[in-house]
C-alpha cells in the first residue's frame, strides 16, 4: 500500500509535469499580454466608439475582449469613456468582456479544453456581455 508521503510526492510531480507542459504556452500568453498592453492604448479604444448605443455596445464587447490587464484598468477606461459621453451600455459591455473574454488566452484555453469547449464558452460570454449590459443599465434606469 502506498504511504501518504509517496502519494503526495507523486501528486506534486504530476502537478509540476502539467505546469511544465503548459509553460511554453503560458509564457507565450504572458508575452502577448505585454504586447497588447503596449500597443492597444486607451486612446485607441476610445476612437472605436461612435455614439450609437447598439453599435457601441458591440464595440465595447469587442474592444474589451482584445484588451488585457488588471480589472481596475477597465474601470478607469470605462470612467474616462463615461466622462466623454459614451453610453453606459457600451461601457458595461466593455467592463464585462474585459474580464470574461480574452483573445490572448484563446490558444491556451484551446490546448487544455479543446475546440468545442472554447468555442461554446467564448460565444456564450460574448453574447452575455451584451445581454447583461443591456439588462443592467435598463434596471438601473428603472431603479433610479
Amino acid at each position: 500500500m502506498k504511504t501518504e508521503k509517496s502519494i503526495i510526492t507523486q501528486s506534486f510531480k504530476n502537478a509540476l509535469r502539467t505546469l511544465y507542459t503548459i509553460a511554453p504556452m503560458l509564457l507565450a500568453v504572458i508575452g502577448l499580454v505585454g504586447l497588447f498592453q503596449t500597443y492597444i492604448t486607451p486612446q485607441m479604444i476610445h476612437s472605436f466608439f461612435t455614439g450609437s448605443t447598439l453599435y457601441d455596445t458591440l464595440i465595447g464587447t469587442i474592444t474589451g475582449a482584445i484588451s488585457v490587464g488588471q480589472p481596475f484598468i477597465s474601470y478607469i477606461i470605462g470612467g474616462e469613456l463615461n466622462d466623454q459621453g459614451i453610453s453606459l451600455y457600451a461601457i458595461t459591455a466593455f467592463i464585462l468582456s474585459f474580464v470574461t473574454l480574452g483573445l490572448v488566452q484563446l490558444p491556451l484555453e484551446y490546448s487544455l479544453f479543446g475546440m468545442r469547449f472554447t468555442l461554446v464558452r467564448n460565444l456564450l460570454s460574448f453574447l452575455f456581455s451584451i445581454l447583461v449590459s443591456l439588462v443592467t443599465v435598463y434596471t438601473l434606469e428603472v431603479v433610479i
Binding site: 502519494i7 501528486s11 505585454g34 504586447l35 463615461n82 470574461t100 487544455l112 452575455f128
Partner: protein, 168 residues
C-alpha cells in the same frame, strides 16, 4: 502524439510566434518593444505566486480528494451544491483566468461538469477586491445590479453550455 505532447508542441509554436513578434517590434520600434517586455515581466511577477497556489491546490486535490468525491460535489449529479461551489469559488478566485486553466483542466479530467467550469469562469468577473473601485466610478447601485446579473448569467450560461455540450 499524446494530448500532453500535442499541448507542448502547440505551446512551442505559440512561443516562437510571440518571440518573432517581439523581434519584429524591436526592429520597428525598440522603445515600444522594451516597454512591452517590461509589461510582460511585470505580469509574470504577478502570476508566479498564483501559480504556486495552483500547484499546491493541484497537489492537494490529487493527493486527498478522490475522483469519486469530486464527481459527487461537481459531477453530473452534483445539483445545487455544484452550482454554489462553482460560483463562490469563481467569485473568490484571484489573478488572471489563464492561471487557473491547468487546475480546471485537471478537475475536468476527474469528472467535473463543463457547465460548472463555464459558470466558474463567468462568476470570476465579480472581482471582490475591486468592487469598491467600481462603486467609486459607477455607483453602488450599478455595482450591486451588475453583480447580481453576473451571478445569474453564470448559471444560465452553464445550463446552456450543458445542453450544447450534450448535443454532440
Amino acid at each position: 502524439m499524446t494530448i500532453k505532447g500535442k499541448q507542448k508542441s502547440i505551446g512551442h509554436i505559440m512561443l516562437l510566434i510571440v518571440i518573432s513578434l517581439y523581434l519584429l517590434a524591436a526592429f520597428l520600434n525598440p522603445t515600444s518593444a522594451y516597454s512591452a517586455l517590461i509589461s510582460s515581466l511585470s505580469v509574470l511577477k504577478t502570476v508566479l505566486p498564483i501559480l504556486l497556489v495552483v500547484l499546491f491546490l493541484m497537489t492537494f486535490i490529487n493527493s486527498y480528494i478522490q475522483p469519486k468525491k469530486i464527481s459527487q460535489y461537481l459531477g453530473q449529479k452534483s445539483g445545487l451544491k455544484g452550482w454554489l461551489i462553482a460560483i463562490i469559488s469563481g467569485v473568490f478566485s484571484h489573478g488572471p483566468g489563464y492561471v487557473w486553466y491547468p487546475m480546471l483542466s485537471d478537475l475536468r479530467a476527474h469528472g467535473v461538469k463543463d457547465s460548472l467550469i463555464i459558470a466558474f469562469f463567468y462568476a470570476r468577473s465579480i472581482k471582490v477586491p475591486w468592487l469598491p473601485m467600481m462603486a467609486g466610478y459607477f455607483g453602488i447601485t450599478f455595482t450591486v445590479i451588475l453583480s447580481f446579473y453576473i451571478l445569474a448569467a453564470a448559471v444560465i450560461q452553464g445550463m446552456i453550455a450543458e445542453k450544447l455540450m450534450l448535443t454532440k
